[in-house]
């Protein structure tokens, strides 16, 4: 079926589906006098004037009052006595220590500017990267001239937010072997769904492991979930560089060899296919307004593979909606199967 055209409907059907259970966690708590009938509040809307509640993200309390007023349009959430409003769409707000995936926007004399889906472009100083030939090497004027050989426009990298400046611009660093240039894979953007703690529904969640390796039929696949909602799925890095802790010399090897390479290793078609599948599923997950984290991805991926296998058997692959369709189907089965 080459083309599928659906009748018009609300953009994210899943929103309702999900919106129910957030209603529940409102209703299960008696005695919360919420003015707004639904759990959706809009900026300026009074959430409650009951002094027992504490204001959290996305709310504020006008001077000498106890009324909590929403500052964003989003879902109302309560954890114990803390009221917070989680925006429907939020741009990523960087926080120190975040692992982010970014794209080089421009190259300056001593630094790069990087798009990390935040309102402001982040910056990566030349001084904050591992220079080839070993971490211990001192930066020279030559490096400045060759700055483009490390990263140039369009390059993808995984980095950590090192510091935040007054205007909320982040500056990054890649001074660790798990950071650096990204290659051998596919990039997926979940812009608007990023935003760490707040994004309980849809998008990437801050968790203990932002990067993990996925076992697939064809081989291992690395997944980097940038907290900023940028995701990179790639062929698994050959052991020897980040697995076992390495001696400084062979480490220098690793650094100088591949750290700034913009050349792909040759990837077996099978692996490439699975990489594409995973990144497609991730898009589907967001389409369904689901959280994106390690265990969800693993479950959906396995589900999807099963599904495909069965369809092959039955030979019927009539489905609309592409990625989202698949994910919905898989999730459906998962719910049923508990």
């Amino acid at each position: 079926m080459p083309i599928t055209i659906l009748p018009p409907s609300a953009p994210i059907a899943a929103a309702h589906l999900h919106h129910d259970d957030s209603d529940e966690d409102m209703s299960d708590d008696d005695g919360l006098p919420v003015q707004s009938t639904t759990s959706i509040v809009t900026p300026g809307e009074t959430v409650t004037s009951d002094p027992q509640w504490m204001r959290g993200h996305g709310t504020y309390v006008p001077a000498d009052t106890t009324t909590i007023i929403s500052t964003v349009a989003g879902h109302l959430h309560k954890t114990n006595k803390l009221l917070s409003v989680q925006p429907l769409r939020a741009r990523y707000t960087p926080e120190i220590g975040d692992l982010v995936v970014g794209r080089i926007v421009s190259v300056q004399t001593k630094k790069w500017t990087v798009d990390i889906a935040a309102p402001m472009l982040a910056s990566l100083p030349l001084s904050a990267i591992n220079l080839p030939g070993g971490i211990l090497r001192r930066r020279t004027a030559v490096d400045e001239l060759n700055i483009r050989t490390f990263f140039s426009e369009g390059d993808l990298l995984v980095a950590e937010v090192q510091s935040l400046h007054g205007d909320n611009t982040a500056s990054l660093h890649t001074r660790s072997l798990k950071y650096g240039k990204l290659r051998n894979g596919l990039f997926t953007s979940l812009t608007g769904a990023g935003g760490g703690i707040l994004s309980r529904r849809g998008g990437v969640v801050r968790s203990k492991r932002q990067t993990f390796t996925l076992q697939t039929g064809a081989g291992e696949i690395d997944v980097v979930l940038g907290v900023n909602g940028y995701i990179f799925v790639s062929a698994h890095k050959k052991a020897g560089q980040d697995e076992k802790d390495v001696s400084i010399t062979s480490l220098e090897q690793g650094v100088s060899e591949t750290l700034y390479s913009s050349q792909n290793d040759d990837i077996e078609p099978g692996v490439a296919r699975e990489i594409t599948r995973v990144s497609t599923l991730v898009k589907g997950l967001v389409g369904c307004g689901r959280r994106v984290d390690e265990d969800m991805i693993v479950r959906v991926y396995e589900g999807a593979v099963e599904l495909e296998a069965e369809e092959k058997v039955m030979g019927s692959s009539e489905r609309a909606g592409g990625a989202k369709g698949v994910v919905e189907a898989v999730l459906g089965r998962l719910e049923m199967g508990g």
């Binding site: 190259v107 004399t109 004027a141 001239l145």
Partner: protein
């Protein structure tokens, strides 16, 4: 297969297994084709690291003389003549007027005149080889000076990076306020012969 003497873009020159592609050629499914109009030349491979095969190249007819200010871009190590356009605290700006082909020792006949000058910068630390920390831009160049320099980096969108940190590099023609000629008297000073007034420059060692 005999090589043609003249070639047009798209002319088949030979299999990539027998020749290496040089300037003015390109590879299209495993054969070498010409990519510009010109005369075909085959020469032994310059550096054996990349390939051992004889190098096929095509020279533009005009290149024989500088009259054809053909499309030569500055590249790293190529020597240039530039005119200083601006002085800053940390670098001087200049416009490249003439480019000698890469690693040619001097501006000679086969240098190319730029139809449009290329903007370039000379960072303070690249002005002089020794005592870099003592250098000041003001005492090395003046706006309007003609300098000989080498390209050390293609730089970012701003412009190319030049260096004069060699004896034979630096100011070759300097003029005073009145446009009078200043003659080099030492590697760091030029003088107006009439008034005897001297000015500081990073002077290029005359050939």
């Amino acid at each position: 297969m005999a090589l043609p003497t003249l070639a047009l873009p798209g002319t088949l020159l030979g299999p990539a297994s027998k020749y290496a592609p040089g300037p003015g050629t390109h590879i299209h499914d495993a054969s070498i084709y010409a990519s510009i109009v010109g005369t075909v030349a085959s020469s032994p491979s310059p550096n054996t690291t990349t390939t051992k095969l004889p190098l096929l190249s095509i020279s533009r007819p005009g290149d024989a003389g500088p009259t054809d200010s053909a499309n030569i871009l500055p590249e790293v190590d190529s020597q240039v003549l530039a005119r200083v356009t601006r002085l800053g605290a940390r670098f001087a700006s200049a416009e490249i007027l003439v480019i000698a082909p890469a690693n040619a020792t001097s501006i000679s006949a086969d240098a190319a005149v730029c139809s449009t000058p290329f903007t370039a910068q000379i960072r303070r630390e690249d002005i002089r080889a020794t005592e870099k920390d003592k250098v000041t831009v003001q005492d090395s160049f003046r706006v309007g000076d003609l300098i000989r320099a080498v390209v050390i980096s293609l730089g970012d969108q701003g412009g190319y990076y030049l260096s004069t940190a060699k004896n034979e590099l630096g100011v070759v023609v300097a003029r005073g306020e009145g446009g009078e000629v200043l003659v080099p008297v030492s590697w760091r000073e030029v003088k107006d012969l009439r008034t005897g007034r001297g000015e500081a420059r990073k002077v290029a060692k005359p050939f």
